[in-house]
């Protein structure tokens, strides 16, 4: 194992860890060392075993074999409480908040500040939470219930929670997947401050720019095993990717320009109380249009209203010239619209049901013969589409909950691509997807556009937006702030519109 400073004893080390779920061997001899005051990146393909490794560190899973050492001593983490008290704080890949409790209580559950007679001191708790949010630069009210927070806000609460623990080891499993550049920058400031105080950081991400910006060392995993550990400055991104996927990658954004065809989607004056106002735009066949903006700008809200998940208060939506009724996803699907939602666990998947059932759900009516579904057709369809997207799983009958995050995302994509849409709406399509698959998804989108599908893409990843879109619509505070053609769409231009600097300058 390539240790850089072998002399320094790691705060935490995982050695030769094995973990299997039924027939799936998620970890085979994985290892990791975290040092005080150092940010350590963990990268690998979807399903490489990163989250599993973290869950072992968090006390959620017990390893089948192998050791966890803390300060050189072997320890056994029976449950999450044990890990927390050992000083390990974890931000999980999927936010898990208490919707009925307030944001502040979410942060301090089980360790609320106490006043007289051991009663909870709410005022003190809210104060502390507010201070923390201040530090993270997020405008969240401590006393609002967590229910109804957007995915990004939820992720921020999770981050605040982990940071508030003041742990010796901070583990972050793709904390930035739902965040835009601004929040990411604030987060990195805070993490760097923690690191300076001697906290050991473990950072998982599929975004290499972030790895480079934040981390000192990087470990690559493949198929549940440790591949390499190096100082970040010693390896190139291409080299990392090669180690992760075991081959060279094609171009990241394989966008081939196509001549736009007829107008597929027309949105006119779309409004929804408190979420978005007076949004109008069109998408043509063969075109990829991106909706960009800061977190909470209302992008998801717009596409959900287009698809009919949410009823709209005002405005018209036309697909291929025909009006879509408000609040009726069935009509939208019939008209040839598909929506890959942003929150795969809540909106995209039936976690307890099998891969097959999930992958064929949107096509249940079309796969039926004489009104009846036989298992065979569904199985064949599911196998074909998941293979096309290179999804990794044990069996088609496994519950999707057992798939890794990225592979879950692929199942959602498979479900919708299988419907053969005329208008494909994707909301954060590559959230949590590894680079290799990302290329795959990009190629797919590009290919679909080339075949005459109209694509509307919401993405918080600016590079993706710039790399893929023919046109970029920028949203700010529920309104369309502007439109940029591919040629004019630079990082700077988008951010200006998104943050409203352009508007201020004009005024």
């Amino acid at each position: 194992m390539a240790t850089v400073e072998a002399s320094v004893r790691p705060v935490v080390a995982l050695r030769e860890v094995e973990k299997a779920f039924g027939a799936v061997r998620a970890l085979r001899g994985a290892g990791l060392e975290l040092h005080a005051g150092e940010a350590h990146a963990l990268v690998g393909e979807n399903g490489a075993g990163k989250s599993t490794l973290i869950k072992i560190l968090a006390g959620l899973y017990r390893p089948d074999a192998g050791l966890i050492e803390m300060d050189g001593e072997p320890i056994v983490l029976h449950d999450p409480a044990a890990a927390i008290s050992a000083g390990i704080a974890v931000i999980y890949q999927e936010p898990a908040l208490f919707g009925d409790l307030t944001v502040a209580e979410n942060l301090y559950i089980g360790r609320q500040p106490r006043g007289r007679f051991g009663r909870i001191d709410r005022a003190a708790m809210d104060r502390r939470a507010a201070a923390l949010f201040e530090r993270l630069g997020v405008p969240l009210e401590p006393d609002r219930p967590a229910k109804g927070l957007s995915i990004a806000d939820q992720q921020l609460v999770e981050i605040a929670k982990a940071i508030s623990l003041d742990a010796r080891v901070l583990v972050m499993d793709e904390p930035t997947a739902a965040l835009t550049a601004r929040e990411v920058a604030r987060l990195f400031d805070v993490v760097n401050a923690l690191r300076a105080k001697g906290t050991a950081i473990l950072f998982i991400s599929h975004r290499f720019d972030e790895v480079e910006a934040l981390c000192q060392r990087v470990t690559v995993m493949r198929d549940g095993a440790h591949v390499s550990t190096d100082p970040v400055e010693d390896v190139t991104v291409d080299e990392l990717i090669r180690r992760m996927v075991g081959r060279e990658l094609d171009a990241m954004f394989p966008r081939t320009a196509t001549e736009p065809g007829q107008v597929v989607l027309e949105v006119e004056g779309l409004s929804r109380e408190g979420r978005c106002r007076d949004v109008s735009f069109t998408v043509r066949a063969g075109e990829i249009v991106a909706l960009a903006g800061l977190v909470g700008a209302g992008r998801s809200e717009v596409v959900q209203a287009v698809f009919g998940i949410e009823a709209r208060d005002a405005g018209r939506v036309r697909v291929l010239g025909r009006d879509l009724p408000s609040g009726n996803p069935r009509a939208a699907i019939r008209a040839g619209v598909a929506l890959v939602p942003e929150d795969r666990r809540q909106q995209g998947l039936l976690l307890d049901l099998s891969v097959t059932r999930n992958a064929t759900l949107a096509r249940r009516n079309r796969l039926a013969r004489f009104g009846f579904l036989t298992g065979g057709t569904e199985r064949r369809e599911a196998a074909a589409w998941t293979a096309k997207l290179r999804a990794k799983y044990g069996r088609l009958t496994d519950p999707v909950a057992t798939l890794s995050g990225g592979n879950q995302q692929k199942v959602v994509l498979a479900k919708w691509l299988a419907t053969g849409p005329k208008l494909l709406i994707v909301d954060e399509p590559t959230r949590g997807i590894d680079v290799a698959t990302k290329v795959e998804v990009h190629r797919l989108l590009s290919g679909l556009a080339a075949d005459g599908v109209a694509v509307l893409m919401v993405s918080s990843e600016l590079l993706e937006v710039l790399g893929m879109a023919d046109r970029v619509l920028v949203m700010r505070e529920g309104r369309l702030a502007g439109e940029l053609a591919r040629a004019d769409a630079t990082e700077e231009a988008v951010m200006r519109l998104a943050t409203g600097q352009a508007a201020e300058a004009a005024a």
Binding site: D64, A65, I309, A332, Q347, D352, L361, R364, F372, L373
Partner: protein
């Protein structure tokens, strides 16, 4: 492969089905009078109401909801039948009207649950009281008993010359229809999807509210049908007919392996559970086991139904991980 087979074997509904097959064989040997055709007939007639109600209840529980008002709906349709009969309406008209009334009562549940978004447990506790109360309003303390023999006799009669009860035919037909709908149609897929995650189901274009609404209508209609059957089988329309039956129906659905949280379970398991529970109670009665024991056995069986597979799974996990640890390379 072996793993797959083992999992199927260990799966709960498979176990219930196996027990259902095995139990009567054992009981026929060890309990006097159990293994006669006549007794089998008794069992079938006995289980009919629970089985019929459990058919639709399975669908409802699979969507993650519940209907506690079924027994009260049976009571109310039965009471309404009595009123109509007293009013001189022809029985041939009364029967479809009773089913229609049931459907209407189900629609009221459905409206409250899907239209207003209220929790089904709360709503159907309310209509449990409401419908039972209304049946008392209709019939009060009287019973309507003078039902024509032609009809009451049919409910208990056998198919010409055999020992097979007439009831078997409609029950089997309904069970097959519901089974096919649940397991081999897009509607069935939608039901499981709605139970597993209603938000994701809505994103997949399933009109979850409408689906649930119609399931409640179906549940009500089925309860109306059971109301007709109950009235004729006991030749008595009374306000307290089928009192308390809802707990038995819920119990068999759960015993059959349907998850109370929705999204999981299948119909054969539930059918097996109905047969198992009824024949077990029948055998215990024939074996002179006391009523008290019968109550305890019912409850214990229900808990064991869910506990046993959990314990088996836990034991299996422990075994596997021990085996792995011993062969793991060090």
């Amino acid at each position: 492969m072996w793993n797959d087979a083992a999992r199927r074997l260990l799966s709960w509904d498979a176990a219930v089905i196996a027990a259902t097959v095995a139990f009567p064989l054992v009981a026929a040997q060890s309990v006097e009078h159990f293994g006669t055709a006549r007794n089998a007939g008794h069992i079938i007639v006995d289980l009919a109401p629970v089985l019929l109600l459990a058919l639709v209840m399975t669908l409802i529980v699979a969507t993650g909801e519940i209907d506690l008002s079924v027994a009260s709906t049976v009571g109310l349709t039965s009471a309404a039948m009595g009123v109509m009969w007293n009013g001189g309406v022809a029985l041939e008209t009364i029967m479809p009207l009773a089913v229609l009334l049931g459907a209407l009562l189900g629609a009221v549940n459905g409206l409250f649950i899907t239209g207003f978004g209220l929790p089904s447990l709360a709503v159907t506790i309310g209509t449990l009281a409401l419908y039972r109360g209304l049946s008392y309003v209709l019939l009060g303390d009287t019973a309507v008993a003078d039902w024509p023999r032609d009809f009451t006799g049919w409910t208990l009669g056998n198919i010409g010359g055999t020992e097979i009860p007439n009831l078997v035919i409609p029950m089997a037909a309904l069970a097959i229809v519901v089974g096919l709908v649940l397991h081999a149609t897009p509607v069935g897929r939608s039901i499981y999807a709605a139970g597993a995650n209603d938000v994701a189901a809505a994103y997949a274009g399933i009109a979850v509210g409408r689906l649930k609404f119609w399931l409640y209508v179906a549940s009500g209609a089925m309860a109306g049908l059971v109301g007709v059957f109950w009235t004729l089988r006991y030749s008595s329309a009374r306000a307290d007919n089928a009192y308390g039956l809802e707990l038995t129906v819920v119990a068999v659905v759960l015993l059959g392996g349907v998850s109370i949280f929705g999204g999981k379970g299948n119909l054969p398991g539930v059918l097996a559970a109905v047969v198992l529970l009824t024949s077990l109670q029948n055998a215990l009665r024939l074996a002179h086991v006391s009523t008290e024991a019968l109550t305890v056995v019912t409850g214990a069986l229900l808990i064991a139904a869910v506990l046993a597979p959990n314990l088996l799974a836990a034991a299996g996990d422990a075994l596997r991980s021990r085996r792995r640890r011993t062969v793991a390379p060090s």
